[in-house]
Symmetry: D2
Subunit: 338 residues, 4 copies
């Protein structure tokens, strides 16, 4: 950490602050600038010391030097983590394709979806059984019955099943049926839930919260990793900005940015990221082009009849065309879709 003292701080205050730094278990190194004194606080602390030092009146700011995440970092593990479950491979040059309806609605709907997305190139099936909805008056999902239907669709197609778990006491239940546990954007900082899925030995797809910084996102992953579960898939699904023409703003630069800093694979969700069906295909292609390790896409046999997220859901035909474009780009760039 670098502690920047206010202009005009007395030598005595500087010495006092240096002592305080040493009391925190760090080594203090005083640097006399032309207008300010700064104290370099040396050590490997990444915690609340920053805040403590910042609270002194003589301190102008405290600048952290170390990133606060460790286990997720490339510095700890330089080779990329590759996730494999059934035919779904995410990372290491393979682009995993997770597709399916927003919600599981019926046996026919989910099996029809699974068959069609598989035919178009998907390697995993998505579908919500427990649905977090903004309004208490909206459809909340088929719950355990939905999980059973997902498993049935897996039996028919062999696709891996990705589905959301919303609360710690559902983790065991969902893990019985799912191949990959999804943590939704609203729950990115639901720490008890993160700890609970960290104890399971199934991959976790962690969605970025709509106002989460990269640090917060990686620290949320760190909660899971810290419990022993090393299979975390990061998912960029769009952030909340002043833009209203799309549902969220999809900041694709987070894909190459994250790949420089973490060994965990990164998947993009252009359905939530845009909220508009006609924008899903071009954003899939762009995601592949900038290095995404996977895609997660909302596809429904009859989008107009979808019980949730209808306006951002594409048809199996639209999905097949999007995957054709993605495959062309992936191949051209030396990677493999699916």
């Amino acid at each position: 950490m670098i502690v920047v003292m206010k202009r005009g701080t007395t030598e005595e205050s500087v010495q006092l602050m240096a002592r305080r730094v040493e009391e925190l278990g760090l080594k203090a190194h005083i640097i006399q600038g032309t207008e300010r004194v700064v104290i370099a606080a040396i050590g490997d602390k990444r915690g609340s010391e920053r805040d403590t030092l910042a609270s002194y009146e003589e301190v102008e700011q405290v600048v952290p030097i170390l990133a606060p995440y460790k286990v997720a970092s490339r510095e700890i593990k330089s080779e990329p983590t590759v996730i494999k479950v059934r035919d779904l491979v995410i990372g290491g040059g393979r682009i995993g394709v997770i597709a399916g309806p927003c919600s599981v609605e019926s046996e026919e709907q989910i099996i029809d979806s699974a068959v069609k997305v598989k035919a178009a190139g998907a390697t995993a099936l998505r579908g919500g059984a427990f649905k977090p909805r903004t309004s208490p008056y909206s459809f909340q999902g088929m719950k355990e019955e939905g999980l059973k239907l997902l498993a049935a669709a897996r039996d028919v197609t062999g696709l891996a099943v990705v589905t959301e778990v919303m609360t710690p006491h559902h983790v065991d239940l969902v893990a019985q049926y799912a191949d990959v546990l999804q943590i939704g954007a609203r729950n990115m900082q639901n720490y008890h839930l993160l700890e609970a899925v960290g104890k399971v030995r199934k991959p976790v797809l962690l969605k970025r919260g709509p106002s989460a910084t990269m640090e917060e996102f990686l620290l949320a992953a760190e909660y899971i990793l810290d419990q022993g579960n090393q299979e975390v898939i990061l998912c960029e699904r769009g952030i909340r900005t002043f833009e209203t023409h799309t549902r969220f703003t999809l900041p694709l630069a987070s894909v190459p940015y994250l790949k420089e800093r973490t060994h965990l694979p990164i998947v993009v969700d252009p359905s939530h990221g845009t909220g508009i069906a006609s924008l899903v295909a071009p954003m899939c292609t762009a995601s592949v082009a900038c290095g995404a390790d996977g895609l997660i896409v909302e596809v429904h046999p009859d989008p107009k009849k979808a019980m949730s997220d209808a306006s951002q859901t594409i048809s199996p035909e639209g999905f097949a065309k999007a995957m054709d474009q993605c495959r062309i780009v992936a191949t051209a760039l030396g990677r493999q879709l699916g």
Copy 2:
């Protein structure tokens, strides 16, 4: 809802869409504009119909007319809800003052805090026993032991206790000790938790999520109200914007805005809202001036030694001065602090 058709849509498509609107249980009313046809869809639906209609290719946009929240709305209950627990009164011209440390750290610290904030005018004590922390490596709170110390501080001072509950299976435990259950900003859309506190008969202080719209905030309150708990206190604690000079951006206009739309009381948290100790007092005064029903402020007997949020925590002396300013303004405007 108003369904705006794309320019050049055929009469046949308009008729088809009108039929689809009626199938959803709404009455369709076709209006021929000079450049567009719009269909007014009449009825009291507030649900997913919008999304369904928006998914049709011929539709340019669907504009909702009704706000999606009901029970929280002034239209359902015009007189303001007043919360009373021990000496804490929030609403109806009384400004509740909740103050105390970010975290409970020891018996001495919490009792000292309670005595001092009471002397300065607080009517409730805040203090975290279960602490949601961005990093898994930060102090996570004293847990049940912290709850017991809060209760001890209440025994000494008579102050009502406000403390956070983070996960559904802790609700009963926290409710044993707390007078008001706090839902943190990260959990504003943790629906299982909202439902769990909705079943308790204690007031709930619901913090706005850092990227929540007013609609999402009121719908989160609606989850609690819908379970039968009518005592919800809304808390504006700042939103995430491009501003980095403060920890969050404190949008005080949400106070009068919410008061026009909901009967629920609104409390402001200038500690998290700014993240900077020197800005807390002026933002307390401004909150009172624009009509807030309460304040929640981080105060620690020795801010520099606070184990969390040190840089936004003020001293008991600073708090006492801030409350003096607030009292002057409240009195001048015909309301009562504390």
Copy 3:
């Protein structure tokens, strides 16, 4: 426009409002909903009537139906506008590549840059002669001398020259030397400047302001079009959001979104859009993949010695590699780079 009346508005108020709508030259159409009355105001006004109606106390909200831009719209001109200047072609399946240093610094630097970016596939040269800088103490550009050096670099390479004009009384001067006039992001709503370049018969590259909505962006283009200059190139260069790990957030979904609504071509600036050299290449590729009609990239013969924007500037070698990737993707998708 749709005028939504407040709940409980009297029949008399509704009739008064309908009359007011008609006084504005619109036709009023009253619709009785189950909870609200709405008035459809029919006509082709796109102006301040909305604000006027919104100011009545009985009105809850006024919803516009027509987009406020006209000439920029696909509805007015459905075929895409293609810009051609020397070898630079933007639109119609051709991807224009504009590259060069942030600032013109010397004859050697700009000619060296031009030769190298041309070799890597650029069809136009960028370089700032008049530099808008956040601080008055930063290098402000070589001004007219810089323009002359750009012209010299064009003489050597044949590349079209793209350079910024900052104020109306420089427009004639800059137009003497430049092939394309650039309006910077800070000046997107500098209306006198927009009008001035609207009177010139040279293409204008209009950068999106960092907090501009799509509507504001298209209306800024409309200012130029309205003066008779039909050659406007839109440039997405990133928006300001809460993200700080990149300089701006690059919202690539604006590319396909704009292409649905306007006939004007769209170019992406991944240098400003990310602010980080290592992210420029993947974002170039992603831009091509989602349909961009062009790229504008900061390239300097020796990025470390660049007098401005050094941290987001790439080397000629890095640029050549990025263009190779872009060419592969463009070709695979049936378009042509350069």
Copy 4:
């Protein structure tokens, strides 16, 4: 500046970087941390050196220590700047009140406005003669005729006149009539305009751009100060965030934040800051409570007939009530309104 080297950088690279720092005219001070080496670059540079150093591959980040603005800073001038023009006093415990219509529309309208806002306590008259409008099809102001009407209203009432200037070649014209030159939010970084008003000897009211950081805002002021004009009034008028229930988000914490850092006075514009007439009065009161040196408010004799900004404009009666509340609060806090 603090230059943070990447983990694992060789001793040789560190030495090279230290040399590069010294070549920039700074003193290099190498600090060996436990995981990283950092180099403190000592000197009073505030310019592009940061960017240059950040462009080296071995550098992880460069952290500036000095704020980039000088003349605007409290460190250069600790006593607050007070602006006095006719009866308008801004700063030093006096709260200036600038009020009037968005646009000058007619002689009767502007004189009527002036008389009424003066009666309610205003000390200056606002009114747009040159109007920056998002759409080229909106009313653009009465131009010079409007300036003459403002002067006429000043003759009648004695109020100081505050009006916007949009482009450098209008500065002399506007300065003939106005007492205070306003720079609109869209032009906060129109540097030629800032320089032009910097050469005039009349106070300048500089509005914050909707996505400007505090640093950018103060550096824009610095452009004016740097030209010799020391009378700059900062105006917080709201920022663009994800919030859509208000036109902008009004971040009042910028008032006390700026007062800690700059000697320039700060005025708040709650009309643009909220965009909703009913929120203007509470936000005026809150602004006074948190220390604003002035207010600028849109008031029209008949808000429903205002030719621009009707939905955020209040009536003279509403304004008088708002000023009564503000006066009560100002007096209670030991300051003086008007």
